[in-house]
């Protein structure tokens, strides 16, 4: 819970100038060791590896079948290609989900709902683009009502090509995300961002 916009003065380090978002009122100058400072400290310490191990092994994805890839996502969650082996469970509420799998075409009418779901998810949260439709519009890239530039709107970690990709490809996508989390190169935990 890194907290931007606050004078993050902790551990006696030099006072850092933090980018102040325009529209947020400047709060009272009470300097306490905030949880975000703790998280900033943790990110540099070896404890982050333990946290990453925990996050890596229990990725809860949101059940959101949007298109043909959604049907493959359902099939992946079931008995034959069991994702429960990796601790990956489908969850219904965005509050409980860590990973948003964009499985299918993004229609301009559905996009505000998708955006709201992404904002409702607590961070660290990751986005997996499953299928050509979410990566680049797929077979419907010429249509007037689909979006093609999802990678500029959401911080996407893993792209799974295929139309629809096989369940094994989705599981490999999850494993790639796990590797990125382990190697601290994922976009969900905002390492480099100040």
């Amino acid at each position: 819970m890194c907290m931007h916009g606050r004078k993050a003065r902790s551990h006696g380090c030099v006072e850092k100038e933090v980018i102040m978002p325009k529209d947020i009122r400047t709060p009272m100058q009470v300097i306490t060791t905030t949880t975000s400072a703790i998280h900033e400290f943790l990110k540099k310490s070896p404890a982050q590896d333990v946290i990453n191990w925990g996050r890596k092994n229990s990725l809860w994805f949101m059940t959101q079948p949007m298109g043909c890839c959604g049907v493959e996502m359902i099939a992946t969650g079931c008995s034959h290609y069991d994702t429960d082996r990796f601790g990956i469970i489908p969850r219904c509420s965005p509050r409980h989900a860590d990973v948003m799998v964009i499985s299918g075409y993004i229609v301009r009418k559905y996009f505000p709902a998708l955006k709201r779901l992404y904002e409702q998810m607590p961070s660290p949260k990751w986005v997996i683009c499953m299928g050509n439709c979410s990566i680049s519009g797929g077979p419907f890239y010429r249509s007037y009502s689909t979006l093609q530039n999802i990678d500029e709107i959401f911080p996407v970690d893993v792209y799974i090509a295929g139309c629809p990709p096989r369940p094994e490809a989705l599981i490999q996508g999850f494993i790639e995300l796990q590797k990125k989390i382990k190697a601290k190169t994922d976009k969900g935990t905002m390492y480099g961002v100040k």
């Binding site: 905030t34 961070s123 010429r142 007037y144 500029e152």
Partner: protein, 188 residues
């Protein structure tokens, strides 16, 4: 109850309204007929009451830009016999093309007519709720399925801006995922 009997009863009933009716040679043997725009509701009512055509299979519309006319196509079938009737009504392609609604005859024409209106722009007089069904609210006036709709081949590969334009999404639709997305409650 096959194609010919339906054809003859239709012709005998509506001499002037039904033009060049014939039965298709291909297997489903569809009875095709061009119907005058004003008489469409009477023909449909006649088909439903007298000839047991109780299933409206679909309403669609074809846009003939060169002939400057729309063609509203009614596909009518039935649960009791296996005859399909295809009625076509020509609507002039003027400022606001309109035709009467067939909802009094078939209840399920509601959504078909709403879809034809929002995609092609043909208004159905007397339709109870002529609102958006499939498109977004603001696309209501663009009639995307017309042949002269400018926005179809989405040339800007990255909607809604192409490479030369600056990113509309970022400025207009700021997603602060670069900073911590949900820090607002902390600062209150």
């Amino acid at each position: 109850m096959d194609g010919e009997t339906v054809l003859d009863s239709l012709k005998s009933q509506f001499q002037d309204a039904v033009m060049d009716a014939m039965v298709d040679s291909q297997p489903p043997h569809i009875v095709c007929a061009n119907v005058d725009k004003e008489k469409i509701v009477d023909v449909c009512a006649y088909l439903k009451d007298n000839l047991q055509f109780n299933r409206l299979s679909g309403i669609t519309s074809v846009d003939f830009l060169d002939k400057n006319k729309f063609e509203v196509v009614y596909m009518i079938a039935s649960y009791d016999h296996s005859v399909i009737v295809k009625l076509k009504a020509d609507v002039v392609r003027d400022e606001n093309p309109s035709i009467d609604t067939v909802i009094p005859v078939w209840w399920n024409a509601n959504w078909y007519e709403r879809e034809v209106y929002e995609l092609m722009g043909i208004y159905f007089n007397g339709h109870p709720e002529m609102t958006v069904l499939v498109l977004t609210d603001d696309m209501m006036g663009e009639w995307p399925f017309r042949k002269d709709y400018p926005g179809f081949p989405q040339t800007a590969a990255k909607y809604p801006y192409s490479d030369d334009q600056e990113s509309v999404v970022e400025s207009e639709y700021p997603l602060k995922w670069k900073s911590w997305p949900s820090e607002r409650h902390y600062l209150e």
